[in-house]
Symmetry: C2
Subunit: 214 residues, 2 copies
């Protein structure tokens, strides 16, 4: 069965977005800085149809993920930044334009039913209204023997961890204290022991891989 | 001038103690597990007058700290678990018995004035009532050309970071999600860019060192 990986970048103080997110600044104040390590890498740029970038360990980590992912799961906020009915969502086709960088089926968690959207470059957005377990099950079926990537945001990853659906947690820890914003990990969850399986680092970010016990 | 290092172990979800701390279980539910990496190391055991333990990278990290520290700063809760007047504090001499493992002057942040306590083995507890800046200044004077170690808890480290007193942040990230407890980093602090200077890892813990910009 497809391995399920939750993969996200977090500041050292635990935030995946800064304070006061807006449509113009969806990651909040200073939140874009979390992802500098990725944006400057050759593999991320290639994934997004751009040239250049650095060929370093950060790029290798992204290339590895691109090579293994078979389907994505993400929350509504990560998809569009919106909430409520789709007709009122100014980014109802997502953040990424006509050719999103996923190149797989992407299962979007939402309370608002909607037909699938087939995009250019092999990405199809499918909208799941019956929760994280259903989304991961559908993503597993779509991924075949490749991995299911839970790409965020915080709520989707929290729900997947709480439901025992995550096999591996891939954290990219950015060297900054954001001081506020959206926390990846809330309070009130059950304790979980992790198995530290890999540590890779560049000056820009530390990549920590954990196996999640059942 | 003496380098000031904040050094603490945190769960991946950002907690330095688990939920519901008590006098019997001062680190809260599952909080002791954060420090397993240290307790099992040869260097920690030697520091505490015990034999045996593992001679691994975790032990080397502790030995390095023991070799460089010249004075400690800590919060009242870390010192005794108590608050309020000392006469009512059941652990008013600290957690560590007659011979605490610090072997330097230890400046304890408190609202309640008190004469110094000279312990066995070279540890002297001094009680500072005029705040973190004063405590660090006194610790710098005591440390000479060695390091000042801000040993915790969360509040002391937050105060020192907010006051711009910390030169280096040494985080030991334990592979677990505690799900609740005392967070190291709160909300409402100013953003701080860090410089990732070293990453060391064992299966038990990841040691992340950061320079703190001014």
């Amino acid at each position: 069965m497809a391995k399920v990986v939750a993969d996200i970048t977090m500041s050292l103080d635990g935030f995946v977005a800064g304070p006061n997110p807006t449509l113009e600044e969806p990651l909040g104040k200073n939140g874009e800085e979390l992802h500098e390590w990725a944006l400057e890498s050759a593999a991320w740029r290639e994934q997004h149809g751009l040239e250049g970038g650095e060929t370093n360990v950060d790029s290798e980590v992204i290339a590895e993920r691109v090579a293994t992912v078979g389907a994505h799961v993400m929350g509504r906020k990560m998809f569009s930044g919106g909430s409520g009915p789709w007709e009122e969502d100014p980014r109802s086709m997502g953040w990424w334009g006509d050719e999103p960088p996923f190149h797989t089926r992407v299962f979007v968690l939402t309370h608002h039913a909607r037909e699938p959207e087939e995009m250019e470059g092999g990405t199809t957005f499918l909208f799941v209204t019956d929760g994280i377990e259903s989304a991961v099950e559908q993503a597993r079926a779509a991924a075949g023997d490749r991995e299911v990537l839970i790409a965020g945001g915080a709520t989707a990853i929290q729900q997947a961890l709480a439901a025992g659906l995550v096999d591996e947690l891939q954290m990219h820890v950015a060297p900054m204290l954001l001081g506020g914003g959206t926390r990846l990990f809330g309070e009130g969850a059950n304790p979980i022991r992790l198995e530290a399986t890999r540590v890779l680092a560049s000056p820009k970010v530390t990549h920590l891989t954990f196996g999640v016990g059942s």
